[in-house]
Subunit: 169 residues, 2 copies
DNA sequence: AAGATGGGACAGCCATATTGACGTATCTTG
DNA sequence: CAAGATACGTCAATATGGCTGTCCCATCTT
């Protein structure tokens, strides 16, 4: 095992020592970066009485209009019951609407209403502003590396789903 | 730090950093990457009847032994009440202990017990395994970029705290 | 016609966060 | 030294967003 089982730390800069440090740095930066980015939209959500769970649904519906519920369930990796509550809230607020699928009439295809589009765009602006300034500060090469590392964190079985999101726009 | 641009990397970041597509890509990869990484330790935590909140505390106490509670509160950015419950759970399970500060006797300095060290190391191993393979797949230059972008997401007022974590090891 | 699939709903529970108020020990400062 | 600030603990109530289990209906597939 790569981690010493006591508090002892290798005295020299061994490969294990360096690896642990680099992994801890990544863990910490991911934690702070992710939480700070999500915090950027909390105020905008609170104005409409919504939470982060609502934003996640809103975001992916914006990204793939006419998304069936089953696809959204896979993306979010939560249960049908949890998602149901969120979608009902969004429908009640007039942000999301469903239409019956014409290929498979059992499906309900999700899309944003015009108000939903406007609200999502407003939230996205806060994300864009945060991420774009991080991108600009880091530089183009860094952004490419940022993407590549994160892609490596996604299990093979989920990768197709993520790539599908990104071929539309 | 100069990153050679000769390394051929398929989809590269365009110079138009503010483009919506690139921001959405970052948002999505951060979401999937972060959630998948945290999921890697859920089983290990569940074996001890603990959750992610417990791991976050455990992690930062491991990182900075003799951390005062106020410092941990700043790192986690949650309320004293929320942290109190988590720390009580960890103390009850014999993973964390406190000692009175000798500089300031009001402070309680947090550190892991030997069992806590062992448990944290076991959880860290799951994180290390996920992140190290993403690092290896992406390459060292990508890792540098990954760090730089995430650092850019951290607000200036929090940056000192994050850097303080990383100068110890 | 039978079974599989997509979706909806009820009931109850758990983990993790919040606010507000209050108490105690200890340190700092006028 | 007295007064106030700080570090920590705790009680009570509440919100959010997950979970399991169960049952239902409509529709598609075989």
């Amino acid at each position: 095992m790569a981690v010493p089982s006591s508090v002892s730390v290798p005295p020299t800069a061994s490969p294990l020592f360096l690896r642990e440090h680099e992994v801890r740095r990544g863990v910490e930066l991911l934690f702070f970066g992710y939480t700070r980015l999500t915090r950027a939209i909390d105020d905008g959500l609170a104005e409409h009485g919504l939470g982060r769970a609502h934003h996640r649904a809103l975001y992916f519906i914006a990204r793939q209009p006419d998304l069936p519920i089953s696809a959204l369930l896979k993306i979010l990796a939560i249960t049908k019951q949890s998602l149901g509550r969120v979608l009902n809230d969004l429908a009640d607020k007039g942000l999301v609407e469903t239409r019956t699928g014409n290929v498979d009439r059992r499906q309900k295809l999700l899309r944003l209403t015009p108000e939903g589009v406007k609200f999502e765009a407003q939230l996205f602006e806060a994300l864009r502003s945060s991420l774009a300034s991080a991108y600009a500060a880091a530089g183009q090469e860094s952004v490419t590396g940022f993407w590549r590392v994160l892609e490596g964190l996604i299990p093979a079985e989920d990768k197709a789903m993520v790539i599908a999101l990104q071929k539309d726009i």
